[in-house]
């Protein structure tokens, strides 16, 4: 690691609550080590604001290792910032230059309410899962784990889809604020596995309907979601979801 420091200008979205209007405020972050993560840089800014008796910037984060999905903000128009396949907490300051100006704002979508500053309400994503993103199996009584062989490539594909961290960057990236990448990742993960097949039709219909009902937009093949997804979830999953949905709508007894 070659450590150096940079100074940058931050234009950060401040909004006291979901009921109030927000605005950008300018901050100067000086002597920022390039080994810092982006959120550590915000920590440093917040420490100074606190010492100055001002309210620090509210932002969500938890694991800070790119897996929990709790962090996220839009940096200069890009959810989770400029690095490919990287959550905001794993973005490091070495990717920015001395003198850069960064606009930092929350993930925006009709279905996501801003709670404060960069903190948003992503619970609509939970509601989509509640509509059918599961296999209806109670605890106990499962057959031996090796009873049903699953081809390696099928398990790998299911895992590719299951890697979604539910951060909502796909929604924020989409001009239609669509949650199709998120929804299709769960539908694909379960539809690919033999254990998920019995409910595949019912699941596809219920989850897609819930997604629409919550105010998420439609897919118009912009592919912004795939480009910004920190886990590189592929839009092939959207195609698979559509196939499952149409098959269920036209050819299955489930309505």
């Amino acid at each position: 690691m070659s450590t150096k420091t940079i100074s940058i200008t931050l234009k950060i979205w401040r909004q006291a609550s979901s009921k109030e209007k927000g605005h950008f405020e300018t901050y100067h972050a000086k002597h920022i080590s390039t080994d810092m993560s982006f959120l550590e840089m915000l920590d440093v800014v917040n420490e100074q604001l606190t010492l100055d008796g001002k309210e620090p910037i509210a932002f969500d984060s938890d694991c800070r290792e790119g897996i929990c999905g709790q962090c996220g903000a839009v940096i200069n128009g890009r959810p989770h910032g400029p690095e490919k396949a990287t959550t905001l907490c794993q973005l490091h300051m070495r990717h920015f230059k001395d003198g850069d100006t960064l606009a930092i704002e929350p993930f925006r979508a009709r279905a996501f309410k801003v709670l404060k500053d960069l903190v948003i309400d992503r619970s609509p994503l939970d509601k989509i899962i509640q509509a059918g993103g599961y296999i209806s199996v109670n605890t106990g009584g499962a057959p031996d784990a090796n009873a049903i062989p699953i081809p390696k490539d099928v398990a790998e594909k299911a895992m590719d889809a299951a890697a979604c961290i539910g951060c909502g960057a796909c929604v924020a990236a989409c001009p239609n604020a669509s949650a199709m990448l998120f929804t299709s990742a769960k539908i694909s993960h379960l539809a690919l596995l033999p254990q998920g097949r019995p409910e595949a039709a019912k699941r596809a219909i219920a989850m897609v309907r819930q997604m629409d009902a919550l105010g998420f937009g439609n897919c118009t093949n912009e592919r912004e979601c795939e480009a910004e997804c920190p886990k590189e979830i592929s839009i092939v999953n959207i195609a698979r979801m559509n196939r499952e949905f149409f098959k269920a709508s036209f050819a299955s007894a489930v309505k």
Binding site: S37, C68, Q70, S123, D126, A145, P149, P151
Partner: protein, 636 residues
């Protein structure tokens, strides 16, 4: 003397027998009971889903914005189970024995045996839920090896095993949320436990968005709130991981067991600056193929690739030929520290050792290594800007897991009737050191397969009066919580919460970390008392209560750490031996290994709260070993 309520009979039959002896709640009556579950990690998530499936009304609480994010999600490497799919000599007995030995003979035989028995059901359950474990070409489940074991019994989903298992729990919970059997309360922090007639009957929570203090009543309370590693400030824990829920239960009368048993994980990315907010683990599974070494010559600053084979010290392989790089975590960590103390550490700070994949890449090819560890290598490169395929990784030990926790009996019930504690939050199964891939196993065992039985036994056999959230005990607990918040907000001092937290962390790391001694511990205790006093006079918390206020959230947690840390010191001073993660320099073998004192310290130390400035009261649960022979752990 504490009664762990271990059932009689032969070890292998205890759990069966106990399940038969436990009273059952009639299916039609289950819907009359309300259960609170705090935390939605593997323990809490599995418990909430399983209890709701049985028909109980569950209220589930989590600190994050969704029950899909608890810190179990960050577990990378895998989950153990005694399936013996590899035909390599594994068995329930061997998993039991490895876990007891790995824990340096400071865990309860009956609990650990039950854990090993249940391990096989967990894998079945998870596969049925759709957890995409790694597979072989024939479609069968794949396994890998982990530290402290000579068999391959670890199931995994790339480097994201915790995530996939947690999403399994989350999906099971989501199904129950949809049916209304689970009421979900996200962005809530538990501020207090409420007792009525000596029984746990509810909690006080703070709504983290509105600041509202809420009270919730129930027939039983389950805490699955994780460990306390963040007492060290820097750890591999998530930002919101804290001791507050369990510590406040301790202040209400639940005993805290073995708080000094903390696990320092050997393979983490080294510390690089004082602005750092957390440490990142590199999965132990890397030690399957990576070789740990330092230069033989102290102070050798050459590029690692320029250091010839003959000038490298593969100290784990040399010292422990039979386990090599796969010695348990406590042993690997202490050896890394020892090498660095001798001046052989590498990197800018000298506080790192190499974990080298050169030979594995030469043997298996880059593709095979990338398939096994690709995401970990990528994470390493993101953080350090170094490519581990070309340059050896640099690693150093970091706080990772806490074996100590609230004391529970065989039913996972604390000393407060009706308060159950699961997963890392309890002390039960890992003794003085946890083996890799065993935390996921324990969380899910507790949540899916133990609590559904034992909570039924409690509810069926305990007279429970009707209690509502308007009971005076709830009003009182809410008023106490409010007063504490007001006091915190009224200080308006000159130091930030994080500033105090960092200072506490440094004290704990220096004096109550990988190696401890009486003098240092005594000194640390005074430093903590002074720091705590200063905190209550000089902390600066901007903003108000009736708002989303992250400084206030953190302040409440740090205030608890400032008390709890002292309990860790008291426990460390009282244990006049070294074992597992607790290494007191005064008690070591000639080869610098931990030296136990089985005659005097083969017990669980459980502490009872007696007021902030008073000595906690010591209670002992003797550990009786009827089935394994206590030996000096040897991994040579």
């Amino acid at each position: 003397m504490l009664d762990a309520k271990i059932p009689g009979g032969p070890l292998a039959e205890k759990w069966d027998r106990h399940r038969f002896e436990l009273k059952l709640v009639n299916p039609a009556n289950k819907r009359k009971f309300e259960v609170i579950v705090v935390g939605t990690g593997l323990g809490g998530g599995a418990a909430a889903a399983s209890l709701a499936e049985l028909g109980y009304n569950v209220k589930s609480f989590c600190i994050q914005d969704s029950p899909r994010r608890a810190h179990s999600i960050a577990a990378q490497g895998g989950i153990n189970a005694a399936k013996n799919y590899q035909n390599d000599g594994d068995s329930i007995w061997r998993l039991f024995y490895d876990t007891i030995k790995g824990g340096d003979f400071r865990a309860r035989e009956a609990n650990v045996y039950r854990l090993a028995q249940i391990s096989v059901n967990i894998i079945d359950q998870c596969v049925a839920q759709g957890v995409p474990f790694a597979r072989e070409y024939g479609g069968q489940l794949a396994n890998r090896s982990f530290g402290g074991a000579q068999v391959s019994r670890t199931f995994y989903a790339r480097g994201q095993t915790g995530q996939q298992l947690l999403l399994g729990c989350y999906s099971a919970m989501s199904r129950q949320i949809a049916t209304g059997k689970i009421k979900m309360f996200p962005r809530r922090e538990m501020l207090d436990l409420v007792l009525v007639n000596g029984q746990a009957r509810g909690i006080v929570t703070r709504n983290l968005v509105t600041g509202e203090l809420e009270t919730h009543a129930a027939d039983a309370v389950v805490l699955a709130t994780g460990g306390y590693g963040n007492v060290f400030f820097l750890s591999t824990n998530a930002m919101s991981s804290n001791v507050s829920a369990t510590y406040r239960a301790y202040k209400k009368g639940a005993f805290f067991a073995n708080p000094c048993f903390t696990q320092i994980h050997p393979t983490c990315i080294p510390v690089h600056g004082d602005y750092q907010s957390k440490l990142t683990l590199m999965s132990e599974s890397l030690r399957n193929d990576g070789r740990v070494w330092v230069p033989k010559k102290p102070g050798d600053k050459r590029n690692p690739n320029d250091i010839p084979e003959s000038e490298r010290d593969y100290y784990l392989e040399n010292k422990y030929p039979s386990f090599g790089n796969l010695v348990p975590r406590d042993v690997a960590s202490r050896n890394a520290k020892e090498q660095c103390d001798m001046g052989k550490g590498v990197g800018e700070t000298g506080l790192a050792v190499y974990l080298d994949f050169r030979d594995a890449i030469k043997r298996d090819g880059k593709d095979v290594i990338a398939q096994k560890y690709g995401n970990l290598f990528q994470m390493y490169e993101k953080i350090t800007a170094q490519n581990p395929y070309e340059t050896p990784m640099m690693i150093y030990p970091a706080v990772h897991y806490t074996m100590g926790g609230l004391w529970v009996d065989y039913n996972l019930m604390s000393t407060i009737p009706g308060l159950f504690v699961l997963g890392e939050a309890n002390f039960s199964d890992h003794g003085a050191n946890r083996l890799g891939a065993s935390a996921l196993m324990q969380g899910l065992a507790d949540g899916y397969f133990i609590i559904p039985y034992t909570i039924g036994g409690y509810l069926a056999s305990t007279p429970l009066g009707k209690v509502g959230a308007d009971d005076p005990a709830f009003r009182e607990a809410r008023a106490d919580a409010k007063a504490r918040i007001d006091r915190l907000l009224g200080i308006r001092g000159r130091r930030t919460v994080d500033d105090f937290h960092k200072q506490l962390g440094r004290i704990m790391w220096d004096y109550c970390g990988m190696a401890r001694n009486d003098e240092g511990l005594a000194k640390a205790r005074i430093m903590i008392q002074q720091l705590r006093a200063e905190f209550w006079e000089n902390v600066q918390i901007p903003g108000r209560n009736d708002d989303l206020n992250q400084s206030l959230e953190r302040a409440g947690r740090v205030a608890d750490f400032l008390e709890f840390s002292e309990l860790m010191i008291v426990d460390a001073l009282a244990r006049r031996e070294s074992c597992g993660g607790h290494f007191n320099e005064a008690f070591q073998t000639e080869e610098n290994e931990a030296k136990r004192d089985d005659e005097n310290f083969c017990h669980v130390a459980a502490w009872e709260y007696a007021g902030v400035d008073n000595e906690p009261i010591f209670h002992k649960e003797p550990l009786v070993f009827e089935n394994v022979h206590l030996t000096q752990r040897s991994y040579k």
